[in-house]
Symmetry: C2
Subunit: 479 residues, 2 copies
């Protein structure tokens, strides 16, 4: 047990300093590291493998939904960025500019894409001729750069990896349906794969994407009661198709502007997984996204037959599950148990000489710590069930926390009191004015998360101004 204590000491207590706990986990679970490029991280194999699993799951859903992948330039000429007024206002302050190429000063500076609406729009204008070409449902998996002042690994990094889907359609209805379709896919990714329940709704105009007509979001709640925007889907109407001249000939032979959407999720989701599920022992990875689902730790490595039996088990399990066997001879069992718990591996198998004699092994669940002894020849089926249980349990734990951390407020004092005491989501009525929204931000530090699709009637009046209000907004402090 000594090992245990020594080891856990290295991680900051989750209740004492959540921010420090987060950074400890990122570094010690070997997910990422800082680099010499300020504000940019190195995503290490264990962290990148999580991203690969997210990509694979998402890309399969995309392909079924008719999405095609393409790749557009990382550099965007200044003149393109400037074509849509709100968009350039939103993004110009946070872009990096290339001013020199191949030893020469450039005539026109190029920004590194912070997002690619302008580049997609330019190409779409070139490619679109007739209604027969529509829709374009294209996506790219790529890096983007936003010159953030304060950065945190995964959550807010100057460079991050994401997918950005951009579509154009012949009609408003079709574009709006696509906006929702992709939001629903994000819900699946986050709920089904990452085991984090989402709050789905529309952003208030204040929180909309720069240039969008409507922004929809899937919001998640972290361990400390702060909210994290996990994915967004935007309906642009003709805000970009007009300045970018994205026109087509309709069936009647007349020219029309197309209707546009965009949608994205990013490596930020890795931060969400850490903060939604982790505890004082470290990471807890949902089995579906875990790079290692089962870790085999042979006990008493030096005893005859133990390594062989562990290897044998590994060979049989790895065909069904992402499995590894820990044969390191310079660490104690206790250290190894802690290490794999810290790295969030859903199931640990312990197997020693006596277990082998009895034809059994011990399974330990990362989520509950529960230990069960199981016959070796039934282990594969038991693991299947156990992984499903763990996935489900992690989801339920979050759901429970969500409901515990969701409160209501009917006036600003109450709002402020509740958020200071309990953090979390606050449901409150809103009159629709930007002044009232700003007031809440100013007084309480909470942003509107969204206008949930599932509306409730909390009270008669706006939580700020007291005027009659019909819209319920969910608010919360955010990452």
């Amino acid at each position: 047990m000594n090992d245990n204590k020594e080891f856990v000491k290295e991680i900051t207590n989750i209740e004492k300093d959540f921010a420090k706990w987060y950074t400890d986990i990122v570094l010690k679970a070997d997910l990422a590291d800082y680099t010499d490029t300020k504000g940019c991280i190195a995503i290490k194999p264990y962290g990148y493998a999580i991203w690969e699993n997210i990509q694979k799951y998402t890309d399969e859903k995309f392909k079924k939904a008719g999405v095609k992948n393409i790749y557009l330039p990382v550099l965007i000429p200044e003149s393109l960025l400037e074509k849509e007024k709100d968009h350039v206002e939103g993004f110009a302050p946070e872009v990096a500019w290339v001013t020199v190429g191949g030893c020469e000063e450039l005539d026109e500076k190029l920004c590194i894409r912070p997002t690619s609406e302008t580049m997609f729009s330019t190409m779409y204008a070139k490619w679109l001729k007739s209604w027969r070409d529509l829709p374009f449902i294209y996506n790219q998996w790529c890096n983007v750069l936003r010159w953030e002042k304060e950065t945190r690994p995964f959550l807010r990094s100057r460079e991050f990896l994401w997918q950005e889907g951009h579509t154009i359609h012949a009609t408003e209805e079709e574009a709006k349906a696509r906006t929702m379709q992709m939001l629903n896919i994000y819900q699946e990714v986050i709920e089904d794969l990452l085991a984090i329940p989402v709050l789905k709704g529309r952003k208030t105009p204040n929180e909309q994407f720069a240039g969008a007509e409507e922004t929809y979001t899937v919001e998640t709640l972290m361990h400390d009661g702060r909210a994290l925007q996990a994915g967004t889907s935007h309906y642009f109407g003709q805000n970009f198709t007009k300045p970018f001249n994205i026109k087509f000939q309709n069936k009647e032979g007349k020219e029309e502007y197309a209707y546009q959407t965009s949608w994205g999720i990013s490596t930020r989701l890795i931060g969400a997984v850490i903060m939604a599920h982790g505890d004082n022992r470290g990471l807890k990875l949902p089995p579906k996204v875990a790079p290692i689902q089962v870790i085999i730790v042979p006990v008493a490595l030096h005893k005859e037959g133990v390594v062989e039996k562990a290897q044998q088990l590994y060979e049989s399990l790895k065909q069904h599950y992402r499995t590894q066997v820990d044969l390191r001879d310079n660490y104690s069992n206790g250290y190894k148990f802690n290490d794999w718990e810290m790295r969030g591996v859903p199931i640990r198998i312990e197997i020693g000489p006596r277990d082998i004699e009895n034809g059994v092994a011990i399974l330990v669940r990362r989520d509950t710590g529960e230990k069960i002894t199981v016959p070796i020849n039934e282990i594969a089926q038991i693991i299947e069930k156990l992984l499903a249980d763990i996935q489900n349990n992690l989801y339920c734990q979050c759901e429970k926390r969500n409901s515990e951390k969701t409160n209501i407020a009917t006036n600003l004092d109450e709002f402020n009191k509740v958020i200071n005491e309990k953090q979390g989501y606050i449901k409150a009525m809103w009159c629709g004015s930007t002044e009232c929204e700003n007031k809440i931000k100013e007084v309480t530090g909470a942003h509107s998360r969204c206008i949930p699709f599932q509306q409730e009637h909390i009270s008669e009046n706006c939580v700020v101004c007291g005027k009659k209000a019909n819209t319920m907004v969910v608010w919360g402090r955010q990452y």
Copy 2:
């Protein structure tokens, strides 16, 4: 047949102007397009799907070979780039510099990675402690930027997509073995997946990667007899580990510098596929990498039951092969046949009312133009065999061309005559001096492709200076 002629007219004749033919194919087969960012292309869905197939195949091989994916920053501080003398000399002239970030002039400018040896080395120095940590076998799939003056889609684009693997090892032997192992994987990718035979060997010092001790290459020969370097694998020795201070404690407790490798293939391979296999009718895609392996073109769409039968066939085939059905009602059959031939789809299925009556369909091979009538209920098995045949035939066609276009030379006049008349590879003896190598470049425009692993004794003396020579080099003009 009218359709046919009209359509084919759009593509430049391959023998008349190969460069123009190439650009025609890139644009008309919908692989890529030019953008507003000079020297950078948009990779369209059909082109990107080829890249995805290359990635999938390669990444699986990598993972089996113990490679782990990571992601490092796209921006590299100037001071890092400057640490290895040869490397900075090689790359500094062709990088793009970020000098402004978030509206402020930067203290230190950042280059967009042209390759990431310096960034990997910096991280490896941080991560490496003991011999137990070794080896690091990491790779990233990413974009890179090189400020080329003359660009061509896929072949030489300012921005391109690639993978760059970087490894460090405890011993020279292990690092050298890894260099070869990865070169062999590239051979598999190019020969097995892309159906292009490679010439494998070591680069002359002149053609080595900036900073490498040894560079190995897989070279390919295109339709016009020019060579294309398709993949390279470098052994660095301690050239980077010393200036970057990548040290570890060996088993005896002493500090040692590690040994390093790097290796890469890129979207350039799409250019290789176009130029190795294409003909006057357009692209010819090897079935293993083709985004669409089978295209079903129902003939007489308006006749009862035709669309239904085509759909039915599509549903059954798509489970085994990447299949599409062409239901466009605004193009003639002739146009469609030509269109899919131009896009290089390996097998076309034609099915019309009479075929349906007889329970047959017509299969047309893209590589030979051969047509066969087959019973519908045997079609899936016949396609399997046919796709394998086509894959194999494309490889053999290239092999045949390689041997036709490989010649020898024993003196410089002969060399010059042969390369002007026949292009292709020239085998000739070389004394090992850079002067002789430069002389060939100057007089004939040919670069040394490599010193092949399979050596032959062409003549006694160096093709340039006439001194005794034991090394056979293969030369050729290049892309």
